[in-house]
Symmetry: C2
């Protein structure tokens, strides 16, 4: 295994964006493509580390940039970007789709693609799914489940997996219930895993304890959600994966 | 693979019980031991089929008998048994522990053991976990999550996995929320997976559609919960599995 990385520049209607591509350079390419969406801080070491973690398992992973050049690290601009995207789901999914288009331009990747997101990025990939984007599957990891624009019946084409810390103070159980009702109403092919004892940001291995209220690393939830995500992606990206709507048969 | 089966007779304080042991006769024994608890109908073809399904993957599985000889098939006696056990968690866990003792007496199995249960059996294995029984893990599959005797803080030694159909009319979302709160209050190492679109009894491949209100087979939820259960058991029964309370570290 030799995980290679390179920057990928692209844009969304004039906003210059720089993503981070990671892939196993020793594996035959093109590899199954995965879009990875960073948390609220922007395309940081956590997102790059997660991209390399998935890349090591055989995916060509584009950790995309949802904010634009020069925003990450500038708290005021980050907050403005977060609010703007959170309040405008169409803008949010368009920004994520620009990442999918950039990934499609990478010779290392082949797809239909899936998408994985963390915290804010979890909301982003769910927004992508709610919009009806042509992705095979989306995984939200300690992401926001509430939305200003619930999925319409029949809209969600992607399989959906949400990995949720049961004690996440930023995403209360009421949001889990509302999400379940929303997804079932939409007729989505969805799953949600609750990890007992885990709070927000449970994959942040290098989080400083106490530095962010309600955020803590949880080694069990981290490992279990990674394994669940891999199993989900294997199903969602399988060459023989049934198209949405045909996966579930009741007899 | 050659799945062998044999009856196992045992008793619980004078109640004669007959379980069904399934194991891969071609594999080196003893095998990791698994207790399997049937649904509300008693030790039927569904429970025996599930025992063989897990046995084919390398477990020595005792599908235990919670009702006693001559009860399954007699609707009145079944209902009386169900009520009696449901309303008396100590009796329920004692009955399941008799199954664990019977499994310990089988030379095909080595333990510590884990337990898997369906519907009523899901409640039974959760009752076992709540009682503090020495099992490494319990899996409830479309089981009842409500209880007359919530787990006390620190009581649950087993890892816990609940696989739940999000549209199960017999186990509403309010029960999921109460279960999450109960398990976190108890400090258990627990997970719950919700399967979108699935109702009660989603592993019952041979269920006659419409025969039981709110019960239907769901091929996706069946396959996904089986895979999740296997991954969970691999962790719970791993020789190096940390003892409860040490699995989760927060830093």
């Amino acid at each position: 295994m030799a995980t290679a990385t390179r920057p990928v520049t692209y844009d969304d209607r004039g906003t210059a964006l720089t993503g981070f591509l990671a892939w196993d350079d020793a594996a035959p390419q093109p590899l199954p493509g995965l879009l990875l969406v960073h948390g609220g801080a922007g395309l940081d070491d956590h997102a790059k580390g997660q991209a390399q973690r998935y890349a090591a398992l055989g995916y060509a992973v584009l950790a995309c940039d949802m904010f634009g050049d020069g925003v990450a690290g500038n708290r005021e601009r980050v907050m403005a970007c977060l609010m703007e995207l959170r309040d405008d789901p169409r803008r949010m999914s368009r920004r994520a789709e620009a990442g999918l288009a950039a990934l499609a331009g990478c010779p290392e990747a082949r797809g239909r693609f899936a998408a994985v997101g963390f915290c804010f990025g979890g909301l982003a990939v769910l927004t992508l799914a709610r919009s009806g984007a042509d992705v095979t599957g989306v995984v939200s990891i300690h992401g926001s489940l509430a939305t200003v624009k619930p999925a319409e019946p029949g809209a969600v084409k992607a399989k959906v997996l949400a990995c949720h810390g049961a004690l996440d103070p930023h995403v209360p159980l009421a949001d889990v219930v509302a999400f379940a009702e929303e997804m079932d109403h939409a007729g989505a092919d969805w799953q949600l895993i609750m990890y007992g004892g885990a709070v927000h940001g449970f994959t942040h291995e290098h989080a400083v304890p106490g530095a962010m209220p309600g955020v803590a690393y949880d080694v069990s939830a981290d490992r279990r959600s990674f394994a669940a995500s891999l199993a989900f992606l294997a199903e969602a990206l399988a060459p023989t994966a049934p198209r949405p709507g045909t996966a579930r048969s009741t007899r």
